[in-house]
Amino acid sequence: MKFYKINKGLYEPHVASMKIIHQNNARCGCRETNKDVVFVSTKWNIGDYIGAIRCRLGRFRDSYSIQPGLYAVGIPDSKSDVFISANYKLSFNILRKSLAGINAWILVLDTKGVNVWCAAGKGTFGTEELTKRIKSCELEKIVTHRRIIVPQFGAVGVSAHEVAMRSGFRVVYGPLRAKDIREYLKRDYKATEEMRTVRFGFTDRLILVPMELIPAIKKSFFPLVLILALSGLTSEGILFAKIAQVGIPVVVMLCAGIFSGAAITPMLLPFIPLRSFALKGYFSGLIAVLVVYTVWGSFFLGKTFLVLFSFVGVPAFSSYLALQFTGSTTITNMSGVEKEIKISLPFFFISAVIAAGLFAGHLFMEW
């Protein structure tokens, strides 16, 4: 077995931020193989913490990956456990952090830098890649047992009986959450009901909000600017005073819709009535309109078109945004989302057309 110190030049820049320990002449009792093994620490440095945050904010996560292959934590030997991971760096980091004080191998699959759950759904964290990686890393020479621990969400793409047949390794599915691994091992590879049950609590929903809100704001930016420009139109050109008078209330309403659909609905999901996400979004959009009126009511007095625009357009807009959230949860199924779309798509279209008409009416009245 050869253990290599990793040069910055050999791997992607992100790899260098992990603390890599150089092992020399470690006697592990494994049969000779000249495959590379990367030893990593189970601690996070500041770069790992910053990376974890940036992953939740934007496109940073699209290129946050590591080389697939065999890794090690502690000083594993031929009897040590083998954990399977995706090559999305956050997945890998969360796994290695949970293995503090444990000697283990980590077999990292090439999931194109995508996390376990999404990659399994796509098939990249699957039977094919797993058996291929086991063979290419010569795992049968590294360990004398024949057990590999696959994260439970990986079952979406991994067929345990097929892997056993093709690789000779028996899959046991680990707990859903890495933090339960230690306890799982103590219980001799038996997970509790709690460990096997997916949760979608407030914190789980909250960390998803930036990736709902930020894209929604980005996509709405130019339309909102256009609305402001149109609202300031007079026969003498665009007047800022008029924008403030006519356009700002419209934009405020639409922003309330963005916030209710992309942030409030996800955050308060179980507390909003009805099970349909589109209806939840509609409901919270309606509340948002009423809140804006309560706070800013005087501005809307006598402006019929504006009021109608708010009630027709904003809840529908909020509903559309809330529907997008279905792709980010672990409680929706495709059949349900298809049903929602079938009913709500015509409704969104009609609402948009009427709202546009009402907006035009509002501009006309204020001309």
Binding site: R59, D62, K112, V114, C118, G121, K122, T124, Q152, F153, A155, V156, G157, V158, S159, A160, H161, Y173, L176, A191, E193, R196, T197, V198, F200, L269, P270, R275, S276, L323, Q324, T326, G327, T330, I331, T332, N333, M334, S335, G336, V337, E338, K339, E340, I341, L345
Partner: protein
């Protein structure tokens, strides 16, 4: 937290079950429970159609429609813009939703 009722396409033939226990092991919503040498289906409405159970049933006693429950991808496919795949498929480098 529950989603819509009576939409999940999960089908299970208990006569075929060989009692391997994999479905109970992999389901994140605990839809299957082992009772003796057979699995029983507890609550079909909890199913999120992830396919893990069907994938790991060696005797194909479980069937379920799988696919991406991503509204953006489904809407796009209705307008014929992209295949009913998530826009972050391997070939597509313009990673939209995921």
């Amino acid at each position: 937290m529950k989603y819509l009722k009576n939409v999940a396409t999960l089908q299970y033939k208990s006569e075929w079950c060989i009692g391997c226990g994999r479905c109970e092991e992999v389901c994140p919503h605990r839809v299957f429970r082992m009772e003796g040498t057979k699995a029983i289906l507890i609550d079909r409405d909890r199913c999120m159609e992830c396919y893990a159970c069907a994938r790991n049933c060696a005797v194909h006693a479980i069937e379920v429609r799988s696919g991406v429950g991503c509204a953006a991808a489904i809407i796009k496919s209705r307008f014929g813009i992209e295949s009913k795949e998530c826009s972050c498929s391997i070939e597509n480098t313009n990673r939209g939703c995921c």
